[in-house]
């Protein structure tokens, strides 16, 4: 479980996050949605410790992450996996080396054990036989799957996924969404997805948090989001003609 209490973050005079409070339940796919520039990515960066909050607390289980020093955080970070928007694969390493990297750095696994675990993970993400390819030889979807494989290499308790579908075609997007769902269920992780893709939200979300101007102004699930009577949320969810038509059908 991840708990946020009154998270506030400013860059100079500009207040980006204005006292965000939320609980992300384990075993669930939690979506943080909102328009670009509303604070989604900053919140995610604060949650994983890439940015320091100005005030408020972040708890991983019962441990207060915001009060930890670098060395204490290191232990929590071993339980965190993250898939970046651009996958952030290490260019100089092959698919296999990327996946093995966290194992190499944080475990005492032998070469054989690492190879076997890598095969297992690559099978999970549908990349069998792609071990020796470099990131430059991969398609967008394959990069994301490799990023996901690396993120789950140490069986983390918490998975952060930043814009999993950006730059992908609808079929590949759906594949990545389902992969995130499967992995969350299989490893019983607390998954937090940053997205503005409503297809993903409808497809795999368990809990949804809508952020607007640095505040969570609505939270609910995929059933309630289509029926919610919140003007800002409705503007966001039903922005496209396709979603407007869906709303009409619901009515």
């Amino acid at each position: 479980m991840i708990r946020l209490e009154s998270i506030q973050k400013s860059f100079g005079e500009h207040e980006v996050l204005k006292g965000i409070t939320a609980v992300f339940e384990p075993g669930k796919v939690n979506f943080i949605i909102g328009k670009s520039g509303e604070g989604k990515s900053v919140l995610a960066r604060c949650m994983v410790g890439l940015e320091e909050v100005n005030s408020g607390s972040i708890f991983y289980s019962q441990a207060e992450f915001t009060k930890m020093d670098r060395w204490e955080r290191k232990n929590v970070r071993k339980d965190i996996g993250m898939l970046f928007q651009g996958a952030a694969l290490f260019d100089s390493m092959t698919v296999e080396e990327n996946v093995q990297f966290p194992m190499k750095m944080f475990t005492t696994m032998t070469l054989k054990e690492r190879a076997s675990k890598t095969e297992e993970i690559l099978e999970d993400v549908g990349l069998v036989g792609k071990n020796k390819l470099y990131p430059s030889e991969l398609s967008g979807g394959m990069k994301k799957r490799t990023g996901l494989a690396r993120a789950i290499a140490l069986n983390p308790k918490y998975l952060f996924v930043d814009e999993p579908n950006s730059g992908l075609d609808p079929v590949t997007s759906l594949m990545i969404d389902r992969l995130v769902r499967e992995i969350t269920d299989r490893y019983k992780m607390t998954t937090v997805v940053i997205s503005h893709d409503m297809n993903s939200v409808i497809e795999i979300s368990d809990a949804i948090f809508f952020i607007s101007k640095g505040e969570f102004v609505w939270s609910g699930d995929r059933n309630s989001i289509l029926k919610a009577n919140h003007p800002l949320l409705n503007d966001f969810v039903f922005a496209s003609q396709f979603m407007k038509e869906i709303r009409e059908k619901f009515r």
Partner: protein
Amino acid sequence: MIQVFTKPERWRVYPKLITKEMDKIGLQSVGIMSLLVLFMGAVVAVQTASNIESGWVPRWTIGYTTRQSIILEFSSTIVCLIITGKVGSNIASEIGTMRITDQIDALDIMGINSASYLILPKIVAAVLILPFLVLLAMFVGVFGGGAIAILSGVVSLTDFEAGAQYDFRVWDVMYSLIKTVFFAFIMSSVSSYHGYYTKGGALEVGQSSTRAVVYSIIIIMIANFLLTQLLLL
């Protein structure tokens, strides 16, 4: 910089990283360095020859001047400047690209000290390999340069040989190598710093790369003056 020298996560991965960097920084620069220093040696020999028209100055001075110029200044300073142009920009753009493509954030999230993991091997590798490169430059510069000068008829083998051996002091080589260690540290750390703190996109990576080379060269030249004052006077 403090972060670079704090305890790394796993020492045993470092020897491999350092070896890889030694190859990139040192071995892959041997060709270009040898070529440049060879002609530098030849130019020094030819210029010295053209400036000693007077019969009062012996011809072996050509060999002596070539050796001293190459050992004291050209091998360390000029070779380090060449390496800075080639490797410094490479270091800055490599780390800068990692920064803008979130690869450094990925390391940080894993709990890896990214500054130490990325920068320390480069600094150690540069400090270890550049003195060998400079030694090679001394050899190529003096003997290669001399060979060209002899073949082109500027000086005879006997004269060049006599000059090259005249009043040879090991301290001159040591002085050059000490300077090289400082220059290697400056080049690798300044370039890494500019890469690590890159913000923005591809354009900014290019700017970081340019800044890395410019700042490294300026600091190397200042350090060169200070070290010369300190070690030779």
